[in-house]
Symmetry: C2
Subunit: 539 residues, 2 copies
């Protein structure tokens, strides 16, 4: 009844040089994904409670699992000594990470991408445990990091570990890994579509029926389980979402939303650069991992204490949702305070991660975007007082634009922000600002906040996805002239020149009349400096 | 500041054998996309008015542009003679299509896909005009077809024509074509994300910054313009969307939603098969295009008149939104009536398109899905009266499941249904049912309702999308053993066997020691029967 899947042939190809593994049918994979969805949502619940526990212990000296990150907390009874909370937390984090799982350092998503593209989809089971603990301590103790990166890595660890237990082939392992990651996001944020789209845009190397359906099943399951645990409310309750709008948006506002997109692209670029810089600077400081961490965490603690003494809130500590919620509630923030918060959060998150904290960049992106959007909204209301500018609306759009700009995952950014706020009124400005922000950021720097880390390690991953046009072209067209036969002892440098001359992309490496190999030159530019002295045979 | 895009190399590759064309930067493309968005939304407005005009003329003998497809119309004063309306309309449609643009026959999306993959992205400008007229007459006169396929083809024609005027290279032409298509959907349904996702899932061969951003800009522009023309309301106003839900959904209901997914997969398969069958049967009937059309349209007219005499409404005529809206309003429909509507709509749409009507299959899919969902909801309420089953909720989920099953575009189906109804309460059941429906349908038949037409023509297009894992693998891995060197006079039959034995996918065709060509065997299975007698040299 059904013709053979052309995809099946590709799978053989991808996996042909790897040890054999089992291949399950799509329905079986969906059943496994169902279990992964349950496990990942359980992991999300445990992780949220761990954060609460650490936060209450270090900030208030109490043993309690009650903590609503969307509300500002009371002042800590420890006064200025609260500066030491991130330092104490940081030392434990560094010890945990160094001792048990180095891959639990950092913000999570790059490590998962690295595992997909360069480690056959293997994420160790211990990562789930160490990452949960380390990130809970980092976030709870006040480092300026988010909880989505960790939950992605934790979910990925579940998915990958279950796949390894079942001895699945690589592409099915990667599918379950992505399913676990998507499920983790969906459970913790109550964003089923956002979870699916994140897996599709950022993780899955192949998007097709056989990879997509397990991801969807895991994500839907985790959302359902997460709703039972956390309730049905969106991540942010936004009063403006309930306004009944009857007119298309004011064109002047639309221009400001476009400007917000441009600014978000620039700020995303700055965030990516500052973060990468801090990740270089801290390991180069004198001393060891512990002393480097102490320096960073003292800065973080001081910064949030300065905000406490000036504004009454520890704005830059932890996930920062209380500040975001406050802005979305429509609480008036001054232009100056929003600007300070923006700059401080970029700095605090970069320092936290540079100094070795464990946590994500998504929540900080939301924070930075909300403050940037608020700035633009306040400016708009000041310049055009009669055009109905609402800072909260701009903040919401700014969150999406910054997430889009920083991660490059446009659809994820748009849909996640909608799902986190359930405000469909701003969908057109949101789509517009995200598109502009992604465009501007990519014009400034190709890598996103996840892939830059991998490129700096010399392990880039692809950023585009495309159907293979070759599959449908007549075979005569395929016998193309765009490959060259080159002797195997030709240096790569010369080969690159020969290739550049006539635009061919594939090279057949010949050993006399025998064919010794086949190089696709799309690969080479990434590594060109390192390998240009080698001969093709060495490749 | 930014590294060179690896995508650029691919573009050269894709286009290397084609005549040169201009390449515009992404910002320039976005500005062109802005214009296309405006043009496409203007086209959507004109198209809607044309449908209204034809409908009022043929059903009521009045000259008027007032028509709300979501409300049941009054009985036609023509009584039984209304059976002739689709016949009269059909004859004009056949004349228009035959005389001016054969590619305007049928449901639109396959023709656009064909243009993308096999005609360098060329959709003629005349198609926009002929398709608008022909589809407006088909829909207005009562053929059982939808208005989304036409608007996609009309938008694609705008995009492609503008690209040709500017002499753009192929991939940029395809990008603007997709932008026009997405913009058309977005404008007519007020679904910005659905429009983007449709272009991404169904049209764009490559999804990346440079192709995605123009699509987003066109779609957002068209949505904005469409909202000014048609208002801000969603396509369907759904009372249940406003219910404030505080508990995760009843597990018994969830099981029924999964069953609905399975049934939707089966019904999608049946719809695809019946439609394909009708498209074969009618052209084989005795007589010419006109007489074949008369036969089909008499059946259509009679069927909708039978529904009128028994239920008071012409349920199967036109886009069918009034029936869908009625079911979503919660109007009680009997199990029997829903079943009759389901079967009748599958039949009516297949006959309409088989007989040569011009119009889409998306609205019929919504109709079929709503009746199927209603059936399951009514059954559930009957079996488990205390579990809060609502037929309208199941109808809504059924719409998504059927669209997903029929088109294979899962994310588009989920997001479109949300955007058309703004009901986020059912998101988890919707995601679940769509995933199950797509899985079941693909297990029954690989092709979706669009691609089956192309496969039957011997012009298949790819159904999966994947990042190219090769780009990131070390070159040593690339020098793989998964290609074979075969002599050029070997018959393809033998070559396929040799390839099948060891799972290699690429074949280097050798003429003695010279390399004569390169065949990727992913291509061949599609055409295997036709070419297996040829030698590799012939390829």
């Amino acid at each position: 009844m059904s013709s053979p899947e052309p995809a099946a042939a590709k799978a053989v190809n991808i996996d042909s040089q790897l040890p054999e593994g089992r291949v399950f049918s799509v329905p079986t994979m969906c059943m496994i994904a169902f279990v992964i969805g349950l496990v990942a949502s359980f992991g999300a619940v445990v992780f949220r409670y761990l954060i609460s526990f650490v936060h209450n212990l270090l900030y208030y000296g109490t043993i309690s699992f009650e903590y609503d990150a969307n509300q500002f907390g009371d002042p800590s009874p420890f006064g200025i000594f609260i500066i030491l909370a991130p330092v104490i937390g940081g030392l434990i984090v560094v010890f945990l990470v160094k001792t048990f799982a180095p891959e639990a350092k950092g913000h999570g998503v790059p490590e998962v991408m690295f595992a997909i593209y360069h480690k056959n989809g293997d994420v160790r089971g211990i990562v789930a445990v160490v990452k949960s603990l380390a990130s809970a301590i980092s976030i709870g103790s006040g480092a300026s990091v988010g909880r989505e990166g960790p939950i992605i890595q934790i979910g990925a660890s579940f998915g990958s570990s279950i796949a390894r237990m079942l001895n699945l082939v690589r592409w099915q392992k990667i599918t379950l890994l992505s399913a676990g990651a998507g499920a983790g996001i969906a459970a913790t944020f109550n964003t089923p579509l956002g979870g699916v789209l994140f897996a599709v845009e950022m993780l899955l190397p192949e998007v097709s029926n056989r990879t997509f359906l397990p991801v969807v099943v895991a994500t839907a399951t985790a959302t359902y389980a997460g709703r039972i645990a956390f309730g049905l409310d969106p991540a942010f309750l936004v009063p403006i979402a309930n306004i009944d709008v009857h007119e298309a948006i004011d064109p002047v506002q639309l221009v400001f939303f476009a400007i917000l997109g441009v600014l978000a692209g620039i700020v995303s670029w700055a965030f990516i650069r500052v973060l990468a810089k801090c990740e270089d600077i801290f390991p180069a400081l004198p001393g060891n991992d512990y002393t480097q961490n102490i320096i960073g965490m003292l800065i973080i603690g001081t910064l949030s204490y300065v905000f406490f003494t000036t504004t009454g809130q520890y704005h830059t500590a932890g996930v920062g949702y209380a500040t975001i919620q406050d802005i979305l509630n429509g609480t008036p923030y001054t232009f100056i305070l929003l600007g300070c918060l923006l700059v401080a959060k970029v700095f605090a998150t970069s320092v936290s991660l540079g100094a070795g904290a464990s946590g994500g960049v998504f929540s900080p992106s939301l924070f930075i975007g909300a403050t940037l959007g608020g700035l633009v909204g306040v400016a708009g209301a000041y310049i055009f007082p009669d055009h109905g500018f609402m800072a909260a609306e701009f903040a919401l759009v700014g969150m999406g634009a910054l997430v889009g700009g920083a991660t490059g995952a446009s659809m994820t950014a748009i849909v996640m922000i909608f799902e986190m706020t359930r405000d469909y009124n701003v969908i057109v400005p949101l789509v517009l600002a995200v598109a502009v922000a992604v465009g501007v950021r990519r014009w400034l720097i190709q890598d996103n906040i996840y892939t830059i880390k991998l490129r700096n390690r010399g392990k880039p991953i692809p950023t585009n996805r495309h159907t293979n046009m070759y599959l449908v072209r007549p075979a005569t067209e395929l016998m193309a002239t765009n490959f060259k036969v080159l002797p195997q002892d030709m240096p790569v440098r010369d080969a690159l020149e020969a290739v550049a001359q006539d635009g061919s992309e594939h090279v057949i490496v010949a050993d006399g009349s025998r064919i010794a190999g086949f190089v696709r030159f799309g690969t080479v530019p990434y590594l060109a400096d390192r390998i240009s002295g080698q001969t093709l045979k060495d490749l």
